[in-house]
């Protein structure tokens, strides 16, 4: 991982000189972009305003790190810069190598290390909901040395972030014992030590896909005993850029790194039996009842199609009783479709074991999870439909508990 640890290896000569020309910064905001010309300037504006106003007591700088091949993002930010008097230094650089967002994140951390910054705030260039106050909420605990890693927490509807609420967060809770709300929040603040450790880490050796480093960042913080906190940033609006990947690819890019990190941290997660809450900064986040149409029928149809045609694949991943319990769901109408949280937790952990044992090519295995995930989301949304806002956190707590309970079986089967 030494290659990623050094900005000199990641940046071209003129970009490196531009970084070296920046004044030293206590806080470096790395705006990590992958072809996000549409939103990058807006995010840079919020970051610069946050550094100039809410974090005025510290020296700050913003670096836009583009990992894509296209030059529109940097052009858009540069054209925005020319029209204004900048309150803090802003610099644009391009990361060499294959176009991966994870490389942009590593690049931003390497630049922070080169500048000797006490805090490195990583922001997705599509996170248009970021406000100057939000940026300060993330960075302040790190600068005050009360936290090593601060992630975001958002207010969202039940239909937003269903992969996080039904898989990533409960799995993270069960495995690593911390109730983190966001695994892929689009921003995070890290202390110098945590950033340096991540740069040296081999957690994502050979895996620099879309979300690998972002997920690795959270998991490494939880497993290394860092003081982790979450700052409430309101609603999340994320512009994903030119093309949003399809659901199967998203699953492979998010669940894949989670599963891979289980191999590395087996000694840690197998010893954890309970979970604790993560300290929250700012107002408590809330979950809003659903707003607008959610295509539950379509998701149930996708699940049933998977049950009809992918059984041969699922047989290789799921235990017999887990698979057998799926068959009755194939007969249920969308109105009476129930895919319980404990059953879902068993499915996810069966897939984790199959992934660990490499029973199938890993990418195919993860993609085969798609209909099952859609079935679970359909059942979850149907269950939440018309519920009072107070009932929603209870249901999410039940999902987290189900993963914790099913973890016992996972530990026993993991060899």
């Amino acid at each position: 991982m030494a290659e990623q640890a050094d900005a000199a290896q990641l940046l071209r000569g003129d970009d490196l000189r531009a970084i070296d020309a920046l004044p030293s910064a206590d806080v470096l905001v790395g705006v990590c972009a992958l072809n996000q010309a549409r939103s990058a300037a807006q995010v840079v504006e919020a970051a610069a305003a946050g550094l100039a106003t809410a974090l005025a007591d510290w020296k700050g700088a913003v670096v836009v790190v583009e990992a894509g091949y296209r030059s529109e993002t940097l052009d858009a930010v540069k054209s925005w810069m020319t029209a204004r008097a900048l309150p803090v230094p802003v610099c644009c650089v391009r990361i060499s190598g294959p176009p991966r967002r994870s490389r942009a994140i590593l690049g931003a951390m390497a630049i922070a290390r080169r500048l000797g910054s006490a805090a490195c705030v990583l922001v997705n260039a599509g996170l248009t909901s970021l406000t100057p106050e939000g940026l300060a909420c993330l960075a302040r605990p790190v600068l005050a040395e009360t936290a090593d890693c601060v992630g975001p927490a958002y207010t969202h509807t039940v239909a937003e972030g269903t992969l996080t609420t039904n898989l990533l967060a409960p799995m993270c809770r069960a495995l690593y014992g911390r109730r983190v709300q966001q695994i892929l929040g689009g921003c995070a603040a890290l202390c110098q030590r945590a950033a340096a450790r991540l740069l040296e880490s081999e957690a994502w050796e050979g895996d620099l896909t879309e979300h690998a480093v972002e997920i690795g960042l959270v998991v490494e913080a939880l497993t290394s005993g860092d003081r982790v906190a979450e700052a409430h940033l309101g609603r999340k609006v994320l512009d994903t850029g030119l093309t949003a990947p399809d659901l199967a690819t998203t699953l492979a890019q998010t669940v894949g790194p989670m599963f891979r990190l289980m191999d590395k941290h087996r000694a840690v997660w197998s010893e954890i039996a309970e979970s604790t809450a993560v300290p929250r900064i700012g107002e408590p986040s809330s979950i809003l009842p659903e707003a607008g149409d959610v295509p539950v029928d379509r998701m149930v149809r996708a699940f049933k199609l998977g049950l009809k045609d992918l059984v041969q694949v699922w047989e290789q991943a799921l235990q017999e009783d887990t698979l057998a319990a799926l068959y009755p769901l194939g007969l249920a109408s969308p109105e009476e479709f129930e895919f319980s949280a404990d059953h879902w937790a068993r499915v996810v952990f069966d897939f984790a074991v199959a992934h660990h044992e490499q029973r199938l090519p890993r990418d195919l295995l993860l993609r085969a999870l798609t209909p099952l995930y859609l079935g679970r989301v359909a059942a979850f949304l149907r269950d939440m439909h018309g519920q009072s806002p107070a009932r929603i956190p209870v249901a999410l707590e039940a999902v987290g508990r189900a993963f914790e309970v099913e973890k016992t079986g996972l530990v026993a089967r993991w060899r």
Partner: protein, 233 residues
């Protein structure tokens, strides 16, 4: 009369003993060659299995989907054992041919040498077929999962078509390697391939309207789905 009868018997018996004395060493040599061949085949089989196990072949094949394909074909043994058996029977078969040559019968002269000359082609053909089989299974599984995720109702049919297309191609390549009716294989493959493509085009255009509609609908549904209120991450 009695003397003549006993002369015939004695002569016959003497001839038989002489022939046996002539053939017995060859028979013995044949048995020895078979026994040595069997022992050598068994030792090489054991070594082969051990080497492939050390190379973690069974786990790798499970990962590539080969083990599942083998078991679907009724072969319950792990791939390292299957290769071991193949090696055993190849060596044993050559040993049997060599032992038959030991009898020095005109009909079997040069048979073993001919078979041994043919073996490299046979091994390459088997390898080509195995790689084709592996590729066919992998591609079929990939297409099946992608089609189901795209909510195409006839996903198994499409995956099956892909599997057979790759298998036919691999089979044609293997037969060509063996030199079996090379022109006929190429011609048959060309006609079959072109025919399949034409049949698929016709079927899709005439009989597969439903499938075409479904694929287009699923694409449109996906596009519409982008605008609904569900976000996954």
């Amino acid at each position: 009369m009695q003397d003549a009868w006993s002369d015939v018997l004695v002569t016959s018996f003497r001839d038989m003993v002489e022939r046996l004395a002539h053939v017995a060493p060859r028979l013995l040599a044949m048995v020895v060659v078979i026994l040595i061949g069997w022992a050598a085949a068994a030792i090489v089989r054991r070594l082969t299995v051990r080497v492939f196990r050390m190379a973690d072949l069974d786990a790798r094949c499970a990962r590539w989907g080969l083990t599942a394909s083998l078991s679907r074909s009724g072969i319950g043994q792990p791939p390292s054992q299957v290769i071991g058996q193949l090696v055993f029977w190849t060596i044993f078969f050559v040993a049997i041919l060599t032992s038959v040559e030991a009898l020095e019968m005109p009909a079997t002269a040069g048979m073993a040498a001919g078979v041994v000359r043919f073996l490299p082609n046979l091994v390459i053909a088997i390898l080509v077929w195995m790689v084709g089989w592996l590729l066919a299974n992998f591609m079929a599984q990939t297409v099946l999962i992608a089609a189901v995720n795209a909510q195409v109702a006839l996903a198994p049919l499409i995956a099956g078509a892909v599997r057979w297309l790759v298998l036919v191609f691999a089979g044609a390549a293997a037969l060509t390697q063996l030199g079996i009716a090379r022109e006929m294989v190429l011609l048959t493959f060309g006609i079959a391939f072109a025919g399949t493509v034409l049949a698929l085009a016709l079927a899709f255009g005439l009989g597969g309207k439903e499938l075409a509609r479904e694929i287009l609908e699923s694409r449109i549904r996906k596009r519409e789905g982008d605008n609904d209120h569900l976000t996954h991450v």
